[in-house]
Subunit: 668 residues, 3 copies
Amino acid sequence: MSLKKILYGTAYYYEYLPYDRLEQDIAMMVKAHINVVRIGESTWSTYEKQDGVFDFSTLDKVLDAMHAAGIQVIVGTPTYAIPTWLAKKYPEIMVQIDGKRQPYGARQIFDITAPAYLRYAERIIRKMIRHVAQHPAVIGYQVDNETKYYGTSSDNVQRGFVQFMKDQFDGDLDALNHEFGLDYWSNRINAWEDFPSMDGTINGSLKAEFDRYRRGLVTQFLQWQVDLVSQYKQPNQFVTHNFDFEWRGYSYGIQPDVDHFAASEPLDYAGGDVYHPSRKHLTGAEISFAGDLLRTLKHDNYLIMETQAQAFKQQVPYPGQLRQLAFSHIASGANMVEYWHWHSIHNSAETYWKGILSHDFQPNPIYNEVVQTGGQLAQLSDHLVNLKAKADVAFLVSNQSLSALQNFPFSDQRNYNDVFRALYDEFYKLNIRTDITDEHHIRLDDYQLIVVPALYSVSDTFLEALNAYVKRGGHVIYTFKSGFTDEHVKVRTVQQPGIISEACGVHYELFVDPDGCQLVPQDATIDGHSDLHLQDWMELLVPDTAQVIAKYDDPNWHDYAAITKNQFGAGSTIYLGCFPSADVLRQVIQAYAQELNLLPFAATFPVIIKQGRNQLGKTVTFYFNYSSEAQTAQLVAPGQELITDTTVTAPVRLDPWGVAIVESSPKE
Amino acid sequence: MSLKKILYGTAYYYEYLPYDRLEQDIAMMVKAHINVVRIGESTWSTYEKQDGVFDFSTLDKVLDAMHAAGIQVIVGTPTYAIPTWLAKKYPEIMVQIDGKRQPYGARQIFDITAPAYLRYAERIIRKMIRHVAQHPAVIGYQVDNETKYYGTSSDNVQRGFVQFMKDQFDGDLDALNHEFGLDYWSNRINAWEDFPSMDGTINGSLKAEFDRYRRGLVTQFLQWQVDLVSQYKQPNQFVTHNFDFEWRGYSYGIQPDVDHFAASEPLDYAGGDVYHPSRKHLTGAEISFAGDLLRTLKHDNYLIMETQAQAFKQQVPYPGQLRQLAFSHIASGANMVEYWHWHSIHNSAETYWKGILSHDFQPNPIYNEVVQTGGQLAQLSDHLVNLKAKADVAFLVSNQSLSALQNFPFSDQRNYNDVFRALYDEFYKLNIRTDITDEHHIRLDDYQLIVVPALYSVSDTFLEALNAYVKRGGHVIYTFKSGFTDEHVKVRTVQQPGIISEACGVHYELFVDPDGCQLVPQDATIDGHSDLHLQDWMELLVPDTAQVIAKYDDPNWHDYAAITKNQFGAGSTIYLGCFPSADVLRQVIQAYAQELNLLPFAATFPVIIKQGRNQLGKTVTFYFNYSSEAQTAQLVAPGQELITDTTVTAPVRLDPWGVAIVESSPKE
Amino acid sequence: MSLKKILYGTAYYYEYLPYDRLEQDIAMMVKAHINVVRIGESTWSTYEKQDGVFDFSTLDKVLDAMHAAGIQVIVGTPTYAIPTWLAKKYPEIMVQIDGKRQPYGARQIFDITAPAYLRYAERIIRKMIRHVAQHPAVIGYQVDNETKYYGTSSDNVQRGFVQFMKDQFDGDLDALNHEFGLDYWSNRINAWEDFPSMDGTINGSLKAEFDRYRRGLVTQFLQWQVDLVSQYKQPNQFVTHNFDFEWRGYSYGIQPDVDHFAASEPLDYAGGDVYHPSRKHLTGAEISFAGDLLRTLKHDNYLIMETQAQAFKQQVPYPGQLRQLAFSHIASGANMVEYWHWHSIHNSAETYWKGILSHDFQPNPIYNEVVQTGGQLAQLSDHLVNLKAKADVAFLVSNQSLSALQNFPFSDQRNYNDVFRALYDEFYKLNIRTDITDEHHIRLDDYQLIVVPALYSVSDTFLEALNAYVKRGGHVIYTFKSGFTDEHVKVRTVQQPGIISEACGVHYELFVDPDGCQLVPQDATIDGHSDLHLQDWMELLVPDTAQVIAKYDDPNWHDYAAITKNQFGAGSTIYLGCFPSADVLRQVIQAYAQELNLLPFAATFPVIIKQGRNQLGKTVTFYFNYSSEAQTAQLVAPGQELITDTTVTAPVRLDPWGVAIVESSPKE
């Protein structure tokens, strides 16, 4: 699906305004070249003040006014925050965690499988979407918002899970007990009606399966909403969702509670929200990883449904950063950049999560930069919209491994996403574009190199496919813990790292805590003066056919390998048996990428370069400076700098937090 | 209300004694010139062993024995710790937090609005006070003890709150929804019966209102007890209460859960307890702030109902400190110093919160110092009792702002009281006496300078009154976050800092986390070699008419102001847009105080000077040395040193932790 | 009870195997000279898949196969992990903590007094033990496993406790109220039916009594199981239990929740599990203290039911350590060393608590060292089995003091066991063998020196017995907090440290937090260049007759003593009024031991020497090197080194983590 122009916009909450200033707001938006707003996704109690009494007048008012101003609208179904009356009427719909029903208050604290919730949600969706579908301002819909399963272990979820397991094992309890090792600590289930609540389970494999089941509930829920909305939506309207990521005060990594890869299938557009550190902590890595993931979901451009304007006190951007960030999204493949949100809110939970406007609604430095950015985007829209790029490298990520490693942690401080990000960030800094996908969706042969962080839980079949991919010429980087357990998180009984041992040419019997151990480089890959310390984990690798890149410095274990490389058939693998420093990771990745001819640009972070092909058939090269010092970047290809509309043939000079966009004729 | 002599005493728990030693205890008290004890406030289960069976024999015995020894008695109503039988009979009276009823055990874990509790509490109060009121030993009553609302969110409290809101908004739900921004996240309340429990609320404004309502319950409860006691008390007997403060292992700041200003209204005397660091950590600041607050409550002398003797292992005083502390209380305006407690307890929760006597009841260094101190106080009583002092500076504190900032924190490490204390402690160390009061009780024109820490939530009316006060010649120091929200914690929609912008001559649109930023002094107020670091918060101030005292060193924001000063009408203001170091605060305050002629003494901490007028019409100047090194203080006025009964005309030499008290004829 | 040979073995879970490999496992065991396995203790749900349906076929299969291979079997009663069907049928048996019933999942989460649990447990025990008792492979039984009371405060436990108190106080509530000081905070119990739940109690003495009562439940439970098993067991079979210790990720100190001294009475053998730090953190101290305690329980050899093979990633031993550890257990008096466990488990909670084999079941470095160790043990069995040794020093430990100090902590970071270990470890490092027992079992006159860490709660009678022991020539080291409270944790009303003041020749009134204070040595005992800092606690000792070893450096308290020594009658005492560094403790202990002629060997840690008499009447001296550097130890007595079968007459050279065992003729 392609758009006609870059969408630049903001979430807009007319309902939250302390006084009516719709006209003033729209005037300020128009000045800022804002051409889209997202509305409606959290105001169920305003549209249905009492059970069955609907009032869409504020919705109509906003739609009409926006349309009059030429601003398009994405309408959200309002189902992720329920009205007070619904919670009073059906207290059983509130999410239950460890047997305790959560009190009403926050959004996203009901059970998304509760029949009473679903009945009322369906009615408001139908009423609302039917009401707005014909409105000319409406270009698309967002179903629900940042849906997850909210930790629910309500009785009906438990019942659903038991049925799911019954189906999966064809009712064969012996098979279930065997696969999940339930004899342990007398946990055997000898009759389906004995299946205990997952609240107290100590079986990490079963817990991971429960998490997988619950991620499936999210997939089903979104599919159900898409189906409902589709009954009303017009052909020119799209349906999307706002996915979010592991949250550490900002978007850190893969979302543990949602299978983005499955859940995005019914959507027309992948959409998501991206929040990130700012000021001197800004690197752009979050925009890049989230963009790579969202883009790969549908192998298409995507929508940034939310990203920060002022946000929290620690996130207020330096002058120039906001503009840089908008272009960064576009460079990663976004067709829309939408801020959260227009005006800072005067009450409740997100008062200090500030929008474009402060609480006083006056122009301010952030708004002024939105005006500037909006103008440039509007001017360059034809050159930037529907930008395409191909990645030669893919990250293979795994919700199931993430869940499993929560139950079987390799560290008390770091999780799956730390491994993912440790690797991802080095590719990002080396300016190597990557796709990000999972084992059910990856097209192996599209890529020269596949990066596999901690693929802890996965089927034999997929590991064999990876072996075959290498054999026929592919390349893989594996980290520690990969291949350890099967798809039900049962540890493999073969020598570790299991099936991939063959392609990796190593095996191990023991793994230990580093506790001060360091690496000892064995060849030129790693500089002996690097930061050689290790964290969390070290496997005592025995190379079978592999070449040793690094060993450990503990005299008791100095014969074992730490990092190895192996030729296998026409391809090769790198196996990281430990968690080294960023410094070492960079060197290993850079050397390997060099060897595989995967380093497109000489520049590295803080100069970030992204390239794509625009709909005019031209190559567009973005140069970003992610630092407070001016930088000069070697010119990748001469052409026309779009923002300044000047011809560039010499190295590109970049201001602090600066951007240059050079359009050139493709070489090929 | 004035007393005839300084009361020096202790809490005494005859009921807790491991063996009867009333006579020995009284003999030891008499030796120490102890002339008052507080009894009875936590022994309901001893006086009423079963429902309706009363036995006041131990009370009588203690009253008689004390009276015989010439020791006066304050009797506490025993309602803050309930008997086992009452908890068994009416389990519903136990406090409910997050839907969980707390188990019996501790004191202060019942719901102070529970009808069953109130019925039984009323009966024991009536029985007990009627029983003792005629006893000649009884000089007064303490109603309950350290009353708070104990975090209760029981159903009846919830119902009461809904009614409170209904009354406040005249039943107008639209007004309520608008004022508290309840459209946000679908939290609208469209019928009063839908009002959700406050347990789960994410609306910080509503939560702050709930806290205000619950502080009101404490006020009502104390009023109710005073009314009950007043039906029996004799004309020469007083009623007081034992207020306490924010607890950080000692008395740190304003009490979050009680509105001292309202709750003290029905009392004859303000009373409170003060605990503080000791040994090398002792500064006296807690005694001073608590004393200033208690004194201001009724603009009269106050009673220290509890302060530490040995207390916890980290609080055992150095030789000399205990005596210094007693005089410090007097110097702040106390008419009574009562220790908690006489004998260390041999069981239960406070075994290691030691009293004057250790568990062996023998004389010990602390007791010996009590004997010495008691002797001196008895000797000097006429010179020290009913001491009066006038403050030219007032701190304007706010329970509502404190609550609101718990819900909308400016820091993950510090709260309202840290701002209050950061400022207070510098005034204390500069020997500037202050009153401490709230916006409903302050008499603005009594003061030359009003210090306003983080007045986050307050009405327009009061801010306008402050503006007017400045205009007609007053002076105000404001900190960051002041004026931001209205009395319902709704953020103001005008330019920040809202209404006070006018008097401060600044405004701001952005505020950020310091994250390493430092101050850049703009004039001589702040020494460039000071500790210029900032914590928690910085507002990017735009001076309108204000003069800039300091800016920020971040090159992106170096045009903004950090600390400003403004002439407005006949007065002036200082606005602190950030949270600077103690070092910087001291300089700003000292310079301003100097300019306003508010620095009474040359000496500064560790020499602390307090001055008052005694009932003999003389000026009494206390000199304290709060350090382990001897100090010499310039003589403020020649006169008679009372402890040594010697004439002083030269500088005052102070031993480590020493005290001198000079009585002189007033200058005026 | 004596064994014919050293037992060397492992826990074996046939039921947990991912595929049947019984024959291969046994072949590998035979190769490793494994001659015993423990089976059955956690697989109730496998043996009784549904209520009343029993199937012991896997048990039979393992017994037959083991017997055929000459491997003996210890059978565990399977009662510490209950089946899913039992939890479904009787949800009321799950343990209740703070009023919340715990969900099914983990082992050891039911109430060991619940009638339904006991009824079903009895049936499976009877069925199972009757089934296996005649099998020739079975040499003994383990009743339950690591039994504790699991924090239960279920209603029936509460009822039992009330009855226990009623019995203890002959129904005299006044006595109860007085002894526990229940007048405090109105906690008086004026009718037995008012006795409140212990969930909320703030009475630390009562809480400690509740803990004592609950430890008694464990004693009763084990006695009940022993009685059941004894109805079936054959004369040549033994009954044991697997005791464990305070857990800090490894066995740290005395078990808080079990009275090992009482609970071991019905057992034939004391048994226990020992886990400890490994690699460079290995000292052997845990093996030694646990061994000393287990050995003293029955004054006989004991069984190590579990100790680590690979265990967690931080515990994988260096080459040589596993062998050293096995001999260390033997040297302390163990007759069996059994690993937990044979094969690493492929699912559930202990997947990363690895056994001898990794998940791939292949030989690995750990297994190889087991093979080597097993061979040496088999060869030396006659020289090592039933080894006896006498200790001249005893540690007097106290579950009740441990519990009481949890309720009345002297530190926010350390507890009773830290004091115990601080002292124990110095004796260990000085190679002084100790017994470890409690006040109900100690035979005072068996020892020259008794070490008494923090004997906070104990009867007058016992303290008087200690005084008498000193008077007639015994020696005691006491630490701070000893003697402070009686057996019901009521603080003594005499001068502290109470009754022992007489033998110690000191008293104190005040105790304070060190807060930077250091020791000032007063004689040659402590080197002035030692680490003189103090932690947690310092009593301001006043020497009456005692000689002062150290004082405090605080100028305010420099007259007080910190460590004293006193002659009393024919004996002497050391009193440690503070918690000094390991450095100081070592010097005080070493000097005292020297004086008392208790230092058997010149060597100290990292050379550890243990000596015993074997059944051949020879003296066996073990030399261990607990370090990564080679060491040379002076020869204690010439003789035959057993492992290498060579005569040694010169100093013993020890490799890193090395062992030498010299058998010689006894001197006496």
